[in-house]
Amino acid sequence: MIYFQVLANGLILGGLYACIAVGFSLVWGVLNVINILHGTFVVLGAYVAWFAYAYFGIHPFVSVVIAGAILYVIGHAIQAGLINRVIAAPVLITLTLTFGLDLMLNNAMLVAFTADYRQVNLANPLPAIIIGPVFLPGDRVAAMVLAFLLTGLLWRTLRDSKIGRAIVAVRMDREAAALMGVPVARINAITFGIGALMAGAAGALLSIVYPISPINAPIFLGKAFIVCVIGGLGSVPGAMVGGIALGVVEAFGAFWFGPEHALTISFGLLLLLLFVRPGGILGKKGYE
C-alpha cells in the first residue's frame, strides 16, 4: 500500500517538473535555443513569490500570475534585444549567449538575495487530503493541479489562438511562416517570453515545496533537460509525459535506493532513453 503513497508523491513532483520543463521545451523546439537561463528564471519566479508573501502577504498561488508577468517581460526583452541578433547562428552561439546571461543574472541574484535558503511557510496551509493509506499535503496537491492547468492552458493557446498558430508555424518552417506574413522576430520574442513566463509561474508554485536559492538554478535546468529528452522535444504533451515519468521514477528511486540517488537515477534514465528511444516517448509527432 505504501506504493500508492510513493506514486502520489511522484505525480505531485511530476506535475511541477512538467511545468518547469514545458517552457524550456517550447523555446528549444521553436527557436532552437537551448536556454541555459531557464533554471535561473524558475528561481527568480520563486523569489517573486517569496517577497510577495513575506512583505505583502500575497499567497504564492496568486503570485503565479505576478511572477509569470514579470518573467514574460524579462524574457521578451532578452529575446528581442539580444538573442534575436544571433538567432540564425549555430546553436552553440545562442547557447553560449544564454550561458553568459545566466552567469550574470544568477550572480546578480546571489548578490541581491544571498545564497541563503529561504522558504515560504504558509500561515494557513490547506488541510491534507487523506485517501485510505495515502496522505497528500493539500498545498502540494493544489500546486500540482495549478501546474497541470497552466500547462494545459499553454497547450490550448498553441492550438487555438492566432499567436499560438503562428508559433507552431514558425516551429515547423520559419521561412514559410514569414511568407504568410508572420512577423518571425516578434514571434521569437513572444515565444521566449512565454518560456520565461512558464518558468516564473513554476517557480512561484515551487516556492511552497522547495527551499529557494540561486544555487538551485542548475538543478531545475537539469530537470527541464531530462524531461525534454524523456518526453520528446518541443511539444506540450511531451513535457507533460516526460515530467510525470521523471517524477514517478524519482519517487520510486528515492523509495527503493534512497533520495541521495535520485539524480543518478534520473540521469541513468536519460542515458537509457537516448539509447533506446532518442526521439523521446512521444517523439517528434506532438508538435503542439
Binding site: 503562428a166 518552417d173 514559410a176 514569414a178 511568407l179 506574413g181 508572420v182 509527432k285 508538435y287
Partner: protein
Amino acid sequence: MSGELAFLASDVEAGYGDVQVLWGVSIEVRAGEIVCIVGSNGVGKSTFMRCASGLLPLRAGTIAIDGVDMSTASSADFVRAGVAHVPEGRRLFSAMSVRDNLLMGAYLREDKAEIEADLEKVYASFPILAERRKQDAGTLSGGEQQMCAIGRGMMARPRLLLIDELSLGLAPRIVDLLSDQLRVINEQGVAVLLVEQDVMNALELADRAYVIDRGRVTASGEAAELAADPRIREAYMGLA
C-alpha cells in the same frame, strides 16, 4: 482584390554570402498577366522569387509595386501589398491540418466571414482538399500538397501569385489540372509570376516569358514568340 497592379523589378542583384546569384535582373508583371521565368537548374530563378517576396534582401536594384518602393520591405509588407509566394517544394506546415495550413495563408487578414468564404472557394477549386481538410498536410500526395500550397497562397487574397515550380515531381495529369486552375485564378484577376523548369508547359500557360541563364535575363518577350524561337527550342526543349 484585382485593381491595377504593376510589379516592377529593376536591375536586381542578390546572392548568398560570397556568391552573387542575380546580376541586374529586370522583370515586370502587369495586371492580369501570366508571366513565366524559365531556365535550367541553379540559374537564379528561385533566388529571384525570394527577392520578389521579401525573403532575401537586394544587394542592388529596386523592386516596386504600384510605384511604391519595396526594396527593403519585409515579407509581411509584400503580403499586405498583395503578393503571395507559393515556394519551391510547397513548404507546407506538415504537422498542421490542411484547413490550418490554408488559414495560415490568411494570417494577416482579420475579416473572419470573408476568410471562411475564401476557404470554401479553395475547397471548390480543389475538392480533394475539402475531403482531407482534417488530415495533416504531411500526409498528402505531392499533387495534393501543391494544391494546398496554391490554396494557401490564394487565402491571402493576392493580386499577384508567385509560384516557384508548379510541376516539379508531379504526374502530367496533375500538372494539367493545376494549370487549368491557374488559368481560372488568373481569369479572376490575379496576375501570376511562374517559375518553371518544364519550359514547354510554362510557355503554353504564359502571356510573356523571361529566360534566365546564369543569373541574367538572356531573352524575353511574348511566350508564343519565345516558344517558336529556334535557339530556345534547342536549348530548353531539346527540339531543333
